[in-house]
């Protein structure tokens, strides 16, 4: 029987699952993702994780708990740095250790460390190490790695065309593209992929916006090349890759004028976001008066509360836009 490798569906899953899936499948393993978030999984995580941790970490614990007993290995890479400059949140850095030392009966972890600051080919070396755990040979690993990278490139190019990770995964799998409609408004929904795209903990944010006729631009829809061109937006560069990207995306989108509103999605108690959120708020004030809303999410977020806030926000933006169209200049930026 094929070796079963479990991949918890949170945190970096939304960016790198296609590559990981391809890599392990090519090596003959059966990849078992932990599926979509449900109340049960979140409850498992809340019970297991520290109360002071943020909701994505609790969710990750829940996913791991759900996979225990179903898989032979758990793939929890220690992703330190992928772009030679910024690292990830300390919770990502200590993730394998937190899981290993606080959940009972965890299957063996494949916790390869990826830090491209140390060596140029650290990424390949990490994949090779992961492959060796499964007992694969050198040639098979190289082949699987190439395929994984090709999938990753295809996946990212789909994201850049405006698809969400779920849609992009669908397209990669079946080849058929879901229909697209042009909405009345365009919002920038900024936040970490594991919050924005998780339909359960974001309380269906993207779906709700779509229903209300709002097009959404996320950080993942923008090319990193464009984002890294945003210079001197802070005195000192942020340390965290994802937070840094959110802030760069905000500056880029605010400089273009066709964004009608900005929604910042953040988890209750998120460490990096306490800074990113503040800088974001300041950036919005600095450019022009784009309506801005900060949505803080935790394990108690209610359906009705979020829905009311979103509706009110969309109505407000809509009215502002209508007034602005009727008598231009009356709402000129201060």
């Amino acid at each position: 029987m094929a070796v079963r490798v479990g991949i918890p569906s949170s945190l970096l899953y939304y960016l790198y699952y296609p590559a990981w899936n391809t890599f392990f499948s090519e090596l003959g393993a059966r990849v078992i993702p932990s599926g979509n978030t449900t109340r049960e999984i979140l409850d498992l995580g809340v019970k297991e994780a520290l109360a002071d941790a943020c909701v994505p970490i609790k969710l990750y614990f829940g996913y791991v708990k759900a996979l225990v007993g179903q898989v032979d290995y758990l793939f929890i890479p220690r992703v330190v740095c992928l772009n030679r400059e910024t690292t990830y949140c300390p919770k990502f850095l200590g993730l394998p250790d937190m899981i290993r030392h606080s959940i009972k009966n965890v299957p063996p972890l494949i916790d390869v460390r990826i830090d491209v600051r140390e060596e140029g080919d650290a990424l390949f070396k990490a994949y090779r190490q992961a492959g060796q755990v499964l007992g694969a040979t050198g040639r098979a690993i190289i082949q699987a790695y190439r395929k994984a990278m090709a999938t990753e490139r295809r996946f990212f190019s789909l994201l850049r065309k405006g698809w969400s990770p779920h849609e992009a995964l669908q397209i990669l799998k079946t080849g058929s593209r879901p229909p697209k409609k042009k909405g009345r408004l365009t919002f920038a929904v900024l936040g970490y992929p594991y919050l924005v795209y998780d339909q359960y903990i974001s309380v269906g944010l993207l779906g709700r916006l779509k229903k209300m006729g709002v097009d959404v631009v996320t950080v993942e829809n923008l090319a990193p090349r464009v984002l890294y061109r945003q210079k001197d937006y802070l005195e000192k560069r942020l340390f965290w890759t994802l937070g840094d990207l959110v802030l760069r995306a905000a500056h880029y989108l605010l400089r273009r004028t066709n964004i009608d509103g900005v929604i910042h999605v953040t988890a209750f108690g998120c460490g990096p976001d306490s800074l990113v959120g503040k800088y974001l708020e300041m950036a919005v004030h600095q450019y022009r008066n784009v309506p801005f809303m900060s949505l803080s999410i935790d394990e108690h977020s209610g359906d009705a509360g979020i829905a009311t806030r979103l509706e009110a926000f969309v109505d407000m933006v809509m009215r502002k836009k209508e007034v602005g169209l009727q008598c231009p200049g009356s709402l000129s930026p201060m």
Partner: protein
């Protein structure tokens, strides 16, 4: 003369004040963090910013109306948030209308030129590097003296026969060290301070528990932020050993890693091989070391939402189990009350006493 200020970190302001005045700056002393400091900090800092951000911002907001032009603080290389405090504070202070600038000292072994540049900004009298070095040496000696005296109070307080005698003596001798200026004077003041503290009447037969304190640097070093936990523990008959002092922290972050630092790293290796920024790994390593040295318990202090300490806290139960040492964690913020903390500490001390008694009879 430029008017400068800096964060309030325990008693260290006595040394920094001397150094900055020697270099020719006018120092506006930061007040001890109080309720008012916190209120100001909480009002203007981001909600989920950790406790030190709020205290420091509150401190600056108390000193800035007195005409501060320059704030001196330390930086950091991440991924702990502390490395970005200075930039955040500057933005917030500027948005409130204070035209202040911030001088951020990053680790000089990584940014040597910036370090020298920063020193020159604080050197309006254009003193030579040699003269500056002399000033720093004296300030450093004073800092050491302050740390040494504080360490001694941790030993004496649990054994005092008159409650509060140690704290009163400590307040008195701090002034002596404060007034000392030359190297010889500082050494003499330290010596007489130690003698004075040893005169506090003690009960040498008292059964004293030993507890190690680990955690995030600011809440460890500033008693106002940890609600004087060391004093509370001392009054409960517990001898405290803190894993961090300002002199140790400065040495680790300026020149090279000390042997103590390397031992801690090694001790943490089986549990947390990755450096998380902040003091997450040190908390784990020090807990292991305290257990090996036969301490009765460990207390972890961390600001609410502190990322590295949350990681450490998730792993600490396993360390506690493996090494058979009780660990108690306090996440501190502006809501933490002294009575609640005292109750938890009393329960923890009872637990350690029973454990110790059981070990003795076994």
């Amino acid at each position: 003369m430029p008017r400068i200020t800096f964060p309030h970190v325990g008693e260290s302001y006595r040394s920094f004040k001397m150094l900055m005045e020697d270099l020719g700056n006018e120092v506006i002393l930061p007040p001890r963090p109080s309720k008012r400091t916190l209120d100001l900090g909480v009002r203007y800092a981001p909600e989920f910013a950790c406790f030190p951000v709020k205290i420091l911002l509150g401190t600056y907001l108390e000193t800035c109306p007195q005409g501060v032009e320059l704030i001196i603080t330390s930086g950091g290389v991440g991924p702990c948030r502390a490395g970005h405090y200075a930039q955040l504070h500057k933005k917030i202070l500027r948005s409130l209308g204070y035209q202040v600038d911030i001088v951020v000292f990053e680790p000089p072994r990584l940014y040597p030129l910036e370090f020298l540049h920063n020193i020159q900004r604080l050197n309006p009298r254009r003193m030579s590097y040699r003269a500056i070095y002399e000033c720093i040496r004296r300030a450093w000696r004073k800092l050491q003296a302050l740390d040494n005296v504080e360490k001694l109070t941790h030993k004496i307080r649990p054994r005092e026969t008159v409650r509060g005698a140690t704290t009163r003596a400590y307040r008195r001798v701090l002034e002596w060290i404060d007034r000392a200026y030359s190297l010889a004077e500082i050494e003499e003041a330290e010596q007489s301070a130690i003698e004075e503290l040893k005169k506090v009447p003690q009960d040498p037969y008292r059964d004293v528990l030993r507890v190690g304190i680990v955690g995030e640097v600011y809440v460890l070093l500033e008693p106002a932020s940890n609600l004087e936990i060391e004093e509370t523990l001392g009054n409960l008959g517990v001898e405290v050993e803190r894993s961090l002092f300002l002199t140790g922290w400065t040495r680790d972050n300026t020149w090279a890693e000390t042997t103590e630092g390397l031992t801690v790293k090694e001790a943490a290796l089986p549990y947390l091989p990755e450096l998380l920024g902040g003091h997450g790994r040190d908390s784990i390593g020090n807990t292991v070391l305290y257990a090996k040295r036969g301490f009765d318990g460990v207390i972890q202090l961390a600001p609410f939402t502190c990322i590295p300490e949350i990681v450490a806290r998730t792993i600490l139960p396993r360390v506690s189990e493996d090494h058979n040492i009780p660990v108690l964690t306090f996440f501190l913020d502006e809501q933490t009350g002294k009575a609640g903390m005292a109750t938890r500490l009393e329960a923890f001390v009872d637990l350690m006493r029973r454990k110790k008694a059981a070990r003795r009879t076994a």
